[in-house]
Symmetry: C2
Subunit: 465 residues, 2 copies
């Protein structure tokens, strides 16, 4: 039996005990149990379904201290951040529970003789992320939105925090059993092979994923190559460009420079919304402020040895042929001209960790051309003043074609969990540009429409009424 071990990022020490990898036969058994749970879970009255999410939120909240300790040892994200992340995770479960309780939640629309309902798609595979051991992991947004839709969930745990995952899963299973959930509403698998078996499992009907372009593409390819292709909602890589107009630099250049360094080094640059590109007018004169801000950033403990190594090579890639603006133990910042940038598409690839690229534009024309050429991203940001409104309006209209969220005079890190959030975007930001993994609309990924024609009300599924 192969064991998986977490590693303490602060010391490099292996964390005991190890967690056994899940064999393919067990994954197949999870699929069968989940398929058997699908119909009873779908037919549970909606208040009872919502109560399952609330029960999990309550149980996680009660165990928050223990889970934060486990997660801090495996990720070095710190107790303050992890405590906040746990609050977001339980808040998310409760928000989605509330959505499932909303009147008419599953009745999409009706016409005389026709009712269109949104029903659960069936068992969902959830691939947990490294960088949010709670909010995008075992009990994270994908799991919560699949449950809110009425779908059983099989989580593939992230190897970066195996003990946190195991303990979270125990708490979930216990809470679900006590709340009367059908057996098979939840299961967890560990290991690369288990993850591959899961995406091919005939009982799995959709998948959610947050992670790298390479890993996400491999799973996407497996999902769409099945005899019966299934929807694969992957959030992959994003550079999250920020565009600063000349008037914004004139009005508040230093504030923007400090905000930028704060945003791209937040959480050691390990957010999917980290700004990886900053467009500034040539001659902005902010080098000293940027260098000062960067000097005060502490050295990061990145999440895993693999991420640490990828960051080292990523920084080398960025440094080659660019001008270093500032570097410290905690952050790396390089600069190129817009002309140089246009010739080096590799600068638009995400570098996970506290590094970013400044692109200096010589004219508004160069700025607009750069906006038209940025790759698909989760976010794009514009900093402008009212004197630049026409330029800003044009940038916003262009960027809305390249990003799932356009931020104005703010920073992309920190994603609100609400009804109006779209955390998605064109490839390579996601594999499914119509969908979000954050906010109440995330539930829609796991609902399929069914139209009932000529059906008397008393024969409709009770959850549709």
């Amino acid at each position: 039996m192969t064991l998986l071990y977490g590693v303490d990022p602060r010391t490099g020490a292996r964390l005991e005990p190890g967690v056994p990898e899940t064999d393919p036969e067990t994954v197949a058994a999870f699929g069968v149990t989940a398929a058997n749970a699908a119909r009873p879970l779908a037919e549970l009255p909606l208040p009872d379904r919502a109560a399952l999410l609330d029960a999990v939120a309550d149980a996680l909240e009660a165990a928050a201290d223990e889970l934060v300790t486990l997660a801090d040892a495996e990720t070095a994200l710190g107790r303050a951040r992890l405590t906040g992340e746990m609050e977001r995770t339980t808040g998310q479960l409760r928000l989605l529970a509330g959505e499932a309780r909303r009147e008419g939640f599953q009745r999409d629309t009706a016409e005389p003789g026709f009712v269109r309902a949104l029903l659960p798609i069936g068992p969902v595979a959830v691939y947990a992320a490294s960088n949010f051991p709670f909010a995008f992991s075992v009990a994270g947004g994908d799991t919560a939105s699949a449950w809110a839709a009425g779908c059983p969930v099989i989580v593939k745990a992230h190897p970066g925090h195996p003990r946190t995952s195991v303990r979270t899963a125990e708490i979930i299973s216990d809470a679900l059993a006590k709340a009367g959930a059908p057996e098979g509403t939840f299961a967890i698998a560990h290991g690369l092979e288990a993850g591959l078996a899961l995406i091919k499992d005939p009982n799995v009907k959709a998948a959610g994923f947050t992670g790298s372009v390479r890993g996400g593409r491999a799973l996407f390819d497996a999902a769409v190559s099945r005899p019966d292709p299934i929807p694969f909602y992957g959030e992959l890589g994003s550079v999250n460009p920020v565009f600063v107009t000349p008037s914004a630099v004139a009005a508040r250049g230093e504030e923007i420079a400090r905000g930028y360094v704060g945003s791209f080094t937040l959480g050691s640059g390990q957010f999917c919304t980290k700004p990886g590109l900053l467009f500034l007018p040539a001659g902005h004169g902010l080098e000293a402020v940027l260098a000062q801000a960067i000097a005060s950033v502490e050295a990061p403990s990145l999440l895993t040895p693999r991420i640490t190594e990828a960051f080292r090579t990523g920084v080398e890639r960025l440094a080659a042929g660019t001008r270093t603006v500032a570097e410290s133990a905690g952050a790396h910042l390089v600069a190129v001209t817009a002309t140089e940038f246009a010739a080096r598409p590799e600068l638009t690839e995400e570098c996970f960790g506290p590094a970013s690229v400044i692109v200096e534009y010589a004219s508004e024309e160069e700025l607009r051309a750069a906006a038209a050429a940025v790759p698909g991203s989760l976010t794009a940001t514009v900093h402008a003043e009212s004197s630049d409104a026409d330029l800003a309006r044009g940038l916003v209209a262009e960027l809305a074609r390249h990003a799932g969220r356009v931020v104005y005079n703010g920073w992309p890190t920190g994603v609100a969990v609400n009804r109006a959030m779209h955390h998605g975007g064109p490839w390579p930001a996601t594999t499914a540009p119509l969908h979000t993994s954050v906010g109440t609309a995330a539930i829609r990924r796991f609902q399929v429409p069914v139209t009932f024609q000529g059906l008397p009300e008393e024969l409709l599924p009770p959850t549709v009424g």
Copy 2:
């Protein structure tokens, strides 16, 4: 230059003149022109966008007589049916125009500081179907819903009706130009190679398809294998099972038998909603009525020589190892027991044309087991009486997991175009079970959400306001 020719199904004669295949360079040029049209089309005020659909509807209506004549020569569907189909096509364009005019059409939802909008995804490739030369072809539902979303369209014409396609495209292009549409709002391509080039074109951002499992799967595979995978909305194959309870047979068995023959032979069985499976209680005693109904069905002129040949082999496949209930020049009906059916999965494959399979069940248990085992379909139908309400309720709940539309005491052929329609379903009925190709919700396939955060109202794209 290779020419494509239509064939008169009534005589087998080649129809002059031929239509040139589109070369890959021209397809690439279409992609560039469509990409250039994307932003002006997206930013057109919504009433002006809607006016484009209305203008095309008016122009098609004015040319209906000419188009019906062309289409009848190429498809043998008959003037009455084709005239009705043209009315549906123009009605569909106007319904979707009305949707695009609806207040708040693109503003999905808002929270303080956040507006979530639904914006056009970009240029769309539409693969036309053989069996609806108007309603699922050049100016059909995929084209209309992509335009309503604000997307340029490049149609790949179906080779079964090339002259109808060319003339429809001329009328569309003329109407769009007169109505002031951006150049590149519409283009049409002909030929297999052009279709393959189109799905791989980097400027194409989504595709709609109606056709066979084989053709749809090949294009789906190409769409998801791109460096940047794109959404592919394919409607492929469906057997549309019908379940008749014992009480329904007792109350109105002969009426059901005649309705069934009428439904599976309607339009020579060339509807994607044709009922290919009928579940009847053993000893139903309806053989004579079924044989009588089938004897009066006229010999079909199937759409193309290829479909005629596929139907011949399909009937041979169904006949092997089954009992022939009735056959005539116009229709083929075979029967098996539920036990035999469970052992022969090939009977669940669609046979396009006027053929169907009766499955005789020995018990309610066998009926329920059969419902749980049917493949993904566009529709599933239940015929029951109130004395069988529990059985009916159980069947409806199960079938809602296998079909996009559940019909009660009716027939699946004839799809209403309205706000509550879902024309979709699990694989192999479609490649995208969350989406419909018919009704107003079809527009959603070509809209991507974008959240605007902290943006003053005056900087929002004007179509979002």
